[in-house]
């Protein structure tokens, strides 16, 4: 099932809409052949505009170029770019059956009927839709519609697969299941994929690389691990995962704060803001003697795989700490927390 795919390059692509609104500032982006890149950001950050530039549904402002494997496709409309697209609304054709929808791109290409049937059957099997083949699309569940939309996009063997929040319309439980399926499907197909989402869990699970965007700019591009452990800015760090801010001050090259058991050695030069950051799962509960921080449990919420503690009397605001679910904690006890030296994040205050 491996498909031929292309590398995508955007060069100085900006987009200003008719009414003068700047949706995208000039950006550069490269997607390797076969790679899955996730564009992540809040609504209005320009991620969908970037996807539509790649698709050919929008043209970049003069000066911007879109290349597929080095070939300039900037002026090509979407119908000749050979891209597969999946929309948030699925956009299934209500006047066609499941089979009709999946085969539409092949009929447009005037392939022989036998070949269309063969290819559609192949996709029906891949997507476990065989039993729904002759059903009207409005009689499908959300998850089934999503799979039909994906099969339809894949049927003409596109060079690039573009997905615009394909799981957003589904409910939480189903979204998690489909995220896993989508991941193994994309690995299996090995097709160049650009995936737009505002859900960081989805981005982490699916992306070879994640491109974090905000206000029409690329804030950071990197592997999920790079983005999570070395966020380029506070905005990125806040958007990816949960983050605790520990306010304090630097004296004698060490960090002092309320609740600090002992001054903390600075892992890197602390920027002027005077705060350090850590993630809830990077704090371990330890005896007071070994603790970096000592505080009081204000609330403990059992979440199954973990318990989320709200710990007060540290810094200037309560911090969140995740401990394994089986740990049984009476709220309101005093606890010691240890944070490994490499788990501290130092971020510029202003970047928020």
């Amino acid at each position: 099932m491996k498909q031929a795919s292309v590398a995508i390059t955007l060069r100085r692509c900006a987009k200003t809409f008719d009414h003068g609104q700047r949706a995208l500032r000039p950006v550069d982006l490269s997607v390797a052949a076969g790679e899955t890149v996730v564009l992540l950001g809040p609504s209005g950050c320009g991620k969908t505009t970037m996807l539509r530039l790649i698709a050919g549904l929008e043209r970049p402002d003069p000066g911007g170029t879109v290349l597929f494997d080095g070939e300039d496709v900037t002026q090509q409309p979407i119908e000749s770019r050979q891209v597969g697209m999946v929309f948030q609304s699925y956009a299934l054709f209500p006047n066609m059956t499941v089979r009709g929808n999946i085969g539409y791109g092949l009929r447009i290409r005037r392939l022989p009927a036998a070949e269309i049937t063969r290819r559609v059957d192949e996709l029906l099997d891949l997507m476990r839709l065989r039993e729904f083949a002759e059903r009207a699309v409005n009689r499908l569940s959300g998850g089934q519609r999503q799979r039909v939309a994906l099969a339809r996009a894949l049927a003409p063997r596109p060079r690039v697969l573009l997905l615009d929040e394909p799981l957003t319309a589904l409910d939480a439980q189903l979204r998690e299941t489909l995220r896993v399926e989508m991941n193994s499907l994309l690995r299996q197909l090995g097709i160049t994929t650009v995936y737009v989402t505002h859900d960081q869990a989805e981005a982490m699970a699916l992306g070879d690389r994640i491109v974090v965007m905000s206000a029409g700019r690329i804030e950071q591009a990197g592997t999920p691990r790079e983005i999570y452990y070395s966020p380029a800015s506070l905005a990125v760090a806040r958007f990816i995962g949960t983050l605790n801010r520990l306010a304090g001050e630097v004296r004698d090259g060490r960090f002092h704060c309320a609740g600090c058991a002992a001054p903390i050695a600075l892992p890197r030069r602390l920027p002027p803001g005077g705060a350090m950051w850590f993630r809830p799962e990077d704090a371990r509960i330890v005896p007071h003697a070994e603790a970096n921080l000592v505080g009081r449990v204000l609330q403990a919420v059992f979440l199954g795989d973990r318990t989320r503690l709200t710990v007060g009397e540290i810094g200037d605001a309560p911090v969140l700490v995740d401990v394994p679910g089986r740990a049984d904690l009476a709220p309101s006890g005093s606890i010691g927390l240890a944070i490994a030296p490499d788990a501290w994040l130092c971020l510029p205050e202003d970047a928020a």
Binding site: A55, L57, M85, F87, S89, F93, N95, I108
Partner: protein, 252 residues
């Protein structure tokens, strides 16, 4: 509150709805089945029915074609003056049938603009106001705004992703129109055609203003009833006209 609504609803229904139609049915059944058949097989009435239906059908198809182009254009494009254009397009809705007839005469009648223009250009006056041609023009005039408004409303509700999906699969503009847009607009098109057809079948004011000898069914009914006092014919033809219109409306 809710339980109390049943009684008045049924009363209103009975009083207003069934009584008049029952009256019509009673009169038309005056001579029994033979009377019905005599009227329904009368060549003059059949011709009149055929004329009425053909005229309404022609108006509907023409209005549909023109409105489709204009409606899709207006629903998609944003340009200066768009709102003003739409507001002016709805102007004919404000004029009753009598005035529309009057306008047709001003335009294509003996002293009409077209006649004057044709006289200046070709040396002979073009006059078609007092015939089916004038009626066709008049009906078209008040049908198009209604159809355009219905189509625009439907076209604006269309998910733009549907067209984008079709294009991403390689469909040309024409294929998108044929495979995606028209099927999606089909219910609105059906509803608009039915309404257009029903209105054209029953329009009277325009026909009466243009000429008393245009042989469409509402005119025939009026003549039978008022001038000839032929209640039987008038009632039977009324029922036929009502049945045809109701079927067309129910089908959509």
């Amino acid at each position: 509150l809710r339980g109390m609504m049943l009684a008045p609803a049924v009363a209103i229904f009975a009083a207003f709805w069934l009584l008049p139609m029952a009256a019509l049915a009673r009169i038309s059944a005056g001579d029994g089945l033979a009377g019905y058949l005599a009227i329904l097989t009368n060549a003059r009435y059949l011709r009149s029915l055929a004329t009425t239906l053909a005229l309404a059908g022609g108006v509907t198809l023409t209005a549909l074609a023109l409105s489709l182009i204009a409606g899709l254009f207006l629903a998609r494009r944003r340009f200066p003056g768009r709102h003003a254009l739409i507001a002016m397009l709805t102007l004919p809705l404000a004029f009753p049938g009598v005035v529309v007839g009057f306008m047709v005469i001003m335009l294509a009648g003996r002293q009409g603009l077209l006649a004057d223009a044709a006289a200046a250009l070709f040396g002979h006056r073009v006059v078609f106001a007092y015939s089916l041609g004038g009626l066709f023009l008049g009906y078209l005039y008040f049908s198009i705004p209604r159809v355009i408004l219905t189509l625009m409303a439907a076209a604006e509700k269309l998910d733009p992703a549907l067209e984008e999906a079709a294009r991403s699969l390689g469909a040309s503009s024409w294929q998108v129109l044929r495979d995606v847009v028209l099927p999606a607009l089909a219910p609105a098109l059906a509803a608009a055609s039915a309404l257009c057809f029903a209105t054209a079948v029953g329009a009277f004011g325009t026909a009466f203003t243009l000429a008393t000898d245009i042989n469409v069914l509402p005119m025939v009914i009026y003549t039978a009833f008022t001038l000839n006092a032929d209640l039987l014919t008038a009632a039977t033809l009324s029922l036929v006209l009502g049945a045809v219109t109701w079927l067309v409306l129910a089908w959509a």
